[in-house]
Amino acid sequence: MDFTYTPEQRQLRDAVSALGRKYGHGYFVEKAKAGQHTTELWAEAGKLGYLGVNVPAEYGGGGGGITELAIVCEELAAAGCPLLLLVVSPAIAATVIARHGSAEQRTELLPGFADGSLTVAFAITEPEAGSNAHRLATVARRDGDDWLLSGRKCFISGVDQADRILVVARTTDAATGRLKPALFLVPTDAPGLTKSKLDMEIVSPENQWLLYLDDVRVPAGALIGDEDAGLPALFSGLNPERITVAAMSAGTARYALSRAADYAAKRAVWGKPIGTHQGVAHPLAHAQIQVELARLMIAKAASLYDAGSDLEAGVAANMAKYASAEAAALAVDTAIQVHGGNGMTTEYGVATLLGAVRAGRIAPVSREMILNFVAQHVLGQDKSY
């Protein structure tokens, strides 16, 4: 077993970290509060190929894997810029298209993922179908060669920044008459598609949206793969999603802990720095250990995924997502406590992460659903639902 990254992976980490620090958390918060996006950072990271590390080289991408993309997610977050759209666009959408898209779809879309010029949102969640994807009610009906999509989606991140949305809908299986999932690429300006912004208590330049699809017409070429590709295509996006979101949480946790460690080493209330009190230092050390354990699981999951062990990677990715979300929530909470009143100010830049890390325990898959997964698939328990 080898716990070292390759020299190239280490260099990528250094380079992304340097770029992230050039922008920093102050920039991230400023954009969020102004209702703007981190367009400059996204464009620069894209131009440098950091957003397309996992896109196959033949389409202009970096030819790396999810290990590399997780490094990008983690280091940007560790610099105070946790970008959720990295999880949605390069991790989920680019993977789904690279693995299940038609030749035309790959040729048309992957170069845009490679340089970050194309952003694709991902829409699965519905008001009546969150954790339970079996209840998806968005349907796709054939109309000549076209498809007509109708339904509602909620909590969809980055629709205002995206060029297209990868929409999970259901089609009727010709043989059995049963509904099965199918993935469609819908342009964000398609007629019949409307969106409304959700007010979220998360300090983030990225927004969540409600989507209404009212007979949105897309051509046959908008279907990913063919009608039978839906389920495998959907599954192919899950591991990259979990691994990169976990990496983002771990980076956010590192950012909060480094702020807290700096503060604890300098702030002196009783003559000595507060970090000398074990009541302050131990919670930080505890959180640090949780974060490192999560990072280890993220590295394992990414390594298994890149080696092609999808099933084993699935268990590790879920565990990494769980551990990392819990560690990040703990790290940010601890960092705030260490900062005292300053912890709640905008200036010190830790409470600004509260909403994001709290959401990490719910999305993209809740901690309970991961515990269900582990209980059933690792521990062999029957389920109640």
Partner: protein, 259 residues
């Protein structure tokens, strides 16, 4: 225009640094070793000249085996190839000896232009570019904040305490640069992956025709006799405004060479 960029690996100036207890050389073993910050500006300047005028950019490093990682990092920014002089006998070399090795290596590459950082964050002597120019018998344009290449003519704005001087020379020449000259690029992911495949020629002292006793601790022209920790920072100067606060502030800034 063929350019050689000098790149040195140094302990990260942002973290704790020290000298080895036994021979008082820079402790590289326990340090986080990185590219000397100013050298990134030298690389950027070389790449900009290459983009405008063509030619080849070669990274030249004299340093221990572990400096290879810094060479790869330098190459990831865009240079074409590298030369690495590694030899155990080099450990503890003084500036004079280092310049001898660098000059010999540059001699094998015969570039039109040598670009280096104005100083390294560990040694901080600022003499290597001058020494190399002297050894090679070419012009030294040091401490540049701007460099213009026009055919075989180099024009440099040389940063001084009071302002700047405009200095020109014909190639071949050595130019050393400050961090005011440009904004170094971040290595792209493709650059990082491509660096792995770029040629790095490794040379020993024997390859350069230099004897072991001309360099290293034993051959050093200077010796570190004693070293101590920098005294803790003193409390700052307080300026009380008695109507002349502005003047006093400017006087202070001027005395510290901020204005």
């Amino acid at each position: 225009m063929n350019i050689v960029v000098l790149v040195k690996q140094v302990p990260d100036s942002g973290s704790e640094r020290g000298l080895s207890a036994d021979d008082k050389t820079v402790d590289r073993g326990s340090a986080n070793n990185v590219i000397n910050e100013m050298d990134e500006y030298a690389i950027e300047e070389a790449l900009k000249i290459q983009e405008a005028h063509g030619g080849e950019v070669t990274v030249l490093t004299v340093g221990p085996q572990q400096a290879a990682e810094s060479i790869r990092k330098a190459l990831s920014m865009g240079p074409d190839k590298a030369m690495h002089v590694v030899d155990d006998a080099l450990h503890g070399s003084c500036a004079l000896a280092t310049s001898k090795v660098l000059a010999a290596a540059i001699g094998r590459l015969s570039p039109d232009l040598v670009i280096s950082g104005a100083e390294s964050t560990d040694g901080r002597v600022q003499v290597i570019p001058h020494m190399i120019a002297e050894r090679l018998g070419i012009a030294a344009l040091t401490g540049a904040r701007k460099l213009v290449v026009d055919g075989a003519t180099l024009t440099v704005e040389r940063q001084t305490d009071e302002g700047y001087e405009v200095v020109t020379a014909a190639t071949p020449a050595v130019v050393s640069v400050w961090d005011t000259i440009n904004e170094p690029r971040y290595p792209s992911f493709k650059g990082i992956m491509a660096a792995k495949k770029k040629p790095v020629e490794t040379l020993s002292l024997a390859d350069l025709g230099i004897a072991a006793d001309e360099v290293g601790l034993s051959g050093a022209s200077s010796a570190v006799v004693e070293a101590g920790k920098r005294p803790p920072r003193q409390g700052g100067t307080k300026v009380t405004d008695e109507g002349d606060g502005g003047v006093k502030l400017v006087e202070f800034l001027a005395s510290e060479k901020f204005v």
